[in-house]
Point group: C2
DNA sequence: AGCATTAATTTCAATGCTCGAAAAAAGAAG
DNA sequence: CTTCTTTTTTCGAGCATTGAAATTAATGCT
């Protein structure tokens, strides 16, 4: 039975969380500023920061010696995160790459390992063994006594099962159905969380673009897959897997092109790199998709289309149409004010834009409320990392530190 | 700046809200039971109920004289809402009917007026005048001194504008763009809220079927329009207009059948009564939809289809296909565990079911997570009324009474 | 009747958190 | 060395919750 009873304990948690959240969002600041942003009284800020400092969660920063622009009055002492308070391991699993990063509580990257992945990578070894080995290495290489690893967060692609600890399906070969989440949890004795990439894109977009921080945004990744994450008025909360979707596998044309997922007519089958490639070379739609398309090949196609190659341009038109109708259909259920296109496909935005906008304007919601702002954003890696980072640190803030005795 | 500071005041509000919420959801109960369901201590329940009783919000109910099944020990005194504490006016605006109900704080229907609506109804009079007149009459006819009308809640169809106080578009003739929400607010000096019908369907479905209370449900209304509301794990919270959608106007076929909204290819253009009728009589898809279809005609069509009429059955197949693909596409963004079909179209569920399920199984999410439970539910009026009622009373509970001094 | 038993409420003192006001601290300016 | 300004801390008051103990109200048994 969920008990939402409020008592002085929950008051403390809430307000400690407010303080940590303000520091997380806006960076280090003085106690007075904290009082201002959180709305708590100075007296409470004193009490809360005192406790948090005593617990080694935050610290007073050494005064930056900037004698210029000196203000009158007692100088403020900035408060910031105590970086050794925690460490987190962030894992990005991709179709062709695994990247493991170790970060401290201040969000600073400590160390990183990158390994290419192949369709056969998880045939010879289990995902559990693969990750355990690298995580152990990463930890030993940066052994710092008293800096506890608090969380392992993993970015994945695919469909999570109900408890969010394993994948029911994934475009990453041989990853679905392997219980590596639980295994790692048991092996390291730490909370392990899997996050859908689309969800992290949405989270990351918020942190990277201040304009979007409180807007309703759909972030669409276009590349080797098509994925989407949503935020609603700055909140990721909401549907399904917290803002993640299976947008790439929304049906575009009944019984249409064969998708990597095995279904037919998905948006992805037209708009992901392999789909565009297939159409550009007039390969039959029902041909089994290539397992992986080299980035150069995809970019070469973009260049050709931009140079006027008919077949290539047509393929991107079809991709734009698929994305556009997908978005138009999504708008019937969720209408964001901004749509962000990221990933390798963002470079082809110019080639798809017209079709996307045409399809969007076929949505009643767009006709009434106006079209959303659609923009492309080049680099998709950092949104995912940033999203994973902020999500994980915020979780540590709120779950572990806001509620501590 | 949103200040989420927690203090003893917010604690009180939260816990008072918990008590009122328990009574609202589970009906009258004894203090001990209240302590059990809310998780608050007996001491707190005593304090909270004492205050609420002193403020005339709840009351001790006279012991029901049921001498049988007597328990030992001190008998419990049930606590329930003090019905004269508030009244609310609930307005259901429909394409062909307006219904105004007056209810008390206990949720008991006090009085009701029903007026047929025609496409020309709001040509001769303004929506504001129409509603003001009837609301004034309703209030005077039930004048009870000391029972303050606290809220006017209006169920509408269409797209609300940003502030939720007027419609930007509506299938109800001449209702869009009329600022009746603000007018009523000013005239009566009360909070006035507009609610999308789809949203209320979702809310109502929760209250009417206990199984669905905490599930993720998409409630689809099929009749003169096609509308949908969603709940996510029992919460209406989320996207857009709090769970309301423009599902009926999701594109089904690019450049397809003409919809009443003026766009082409909407789900509604195939699945609403006029769409089915058009297809059954092989009227061209681009023919302007009939303004209103008499219920008998629609039901006659269902009967004919069930009796084996080819054209009629085919029209319902097309309707099922449109709904099915719409749902399948929605599932890429939001995958409920239950789908509820309500409204006049629920009677034709048998005729559409096969197509709906086929289309649904083309969604990757369904292949992975399994198909959602799809059921039809006959009567749609009561879910809407129930939804409007519970939503409005809960608002009064939380906004007006939980926070009172 | 009178007394034990049972179950629902209330009373009471303790705890913990926030808040406003006043005081203290730490430099800058004169 | 004193005054001024801004940041932080201190202190007592106020409030809502809680567990434990006390009270209340009815039944059952002798």
């Amino acid at each position: 039975m969920a008990r939402n009873v409020s008592d002085s304990d929950s008051v403390r948690r809430q307000n400690r969380g407010l303080v940590l959240g303000a520091l997380r969002t806006q960076g280090e600041m003085a106690r007075t500023a904290l009082a201002g942003t959180t709305g708590l009284s100075h007296a409470s800020i004193t009490a809360i920061t005192h406790d948090l400092i005593a617990q080694g969660i935050i610290e007073e920063l050494a005064p930056t010696e900037k004698p210029d622009a000196r203000m009158r009055g007692r100088p403020a002492t900035l408060i910031g995160f105590h970086r050794p308070a925690a460490a987190a391991a962030l894992v990005e699993l991709d179709v062709n790459r695994a990247r493991l990063s170790l970060v401290d509580y201040g969000g600073v990257l400590v160390d990183r390992i990158e390994t290419p992945l192949h369709p056969t990578s998880f045939e010879d070894t289990t995902p559990t063994a693969f990750l355990t080995e690298r995580l152990t290495y990463l930890r030993s290489r940066n052994a710092a006594p008293g800096v506890p690893l608090r969380r392992i967060a993993i970015s994945v692609q695919g469909i999570l099962d109900r408890d969010g600890m394993s994948l029911k399906w994934s475009p990453i070969a041989r990853l679905a159905g392997r219980p590596f989440g639980l295994d790692l949890m048991e092996h390291f004795g730490l909370p392990v969380t899997l996050h859908k990439r689309g969800r992290l894109l949405a989270e990351g977009a918020r942190w990277l673009d201040p304009n979007l921080h409180d807007a309703s945004v759909a972030t669409v990744f276009v590349g080797s897959t098509v994925a989407m994450g949503m935020t609603f008025r700055g909140q990721i909360t909401g549907r399904g897997d917290e803002g993640a979707t299976e947008f790439g596998h929304m049906n575009h044309v009944p019984n249409g092109a064969l998708c990597r997922c095995g279904m037919r007519g998905c948006v992805e089958a037209y708009a992901a790199d392999y789909g565009v490639l297939r159409n550009a070379y007039s390969v039959p739609e029902t041909t089994l998709p290539a397992p992986a398309v080299p980035l150069q090949e995809y970019e070469g196609l973009i260049a050709r289309a931009e140079a006027g190659d008919r077949a290539a341009a047509h393929a991107f038109n079809l991709a734009g149409r698929a994305i556009g109708f997908g978005l138009s259909r999504m708008m019937a259920v969720f209408d964001p004010s901004h749509i962000l296109i990221v990933g390798p496909g963002a470079r082809a935005f110019g080639l798809m834009q017209a079709e996307i906008m045409t399809a969007l304007s076929s949505a009643l919601v767009c006709r009434i409320n106006g079209l959303p702002t659609v923009v492309a954003h080049r680099d998709e890696k950092e949104p995912i990392f940033k999203g994973l980072l902020m999500k994980t640190l915020t979780e540590i803030d709120q779950a572990e530190f806001a509620g501590l005795v």
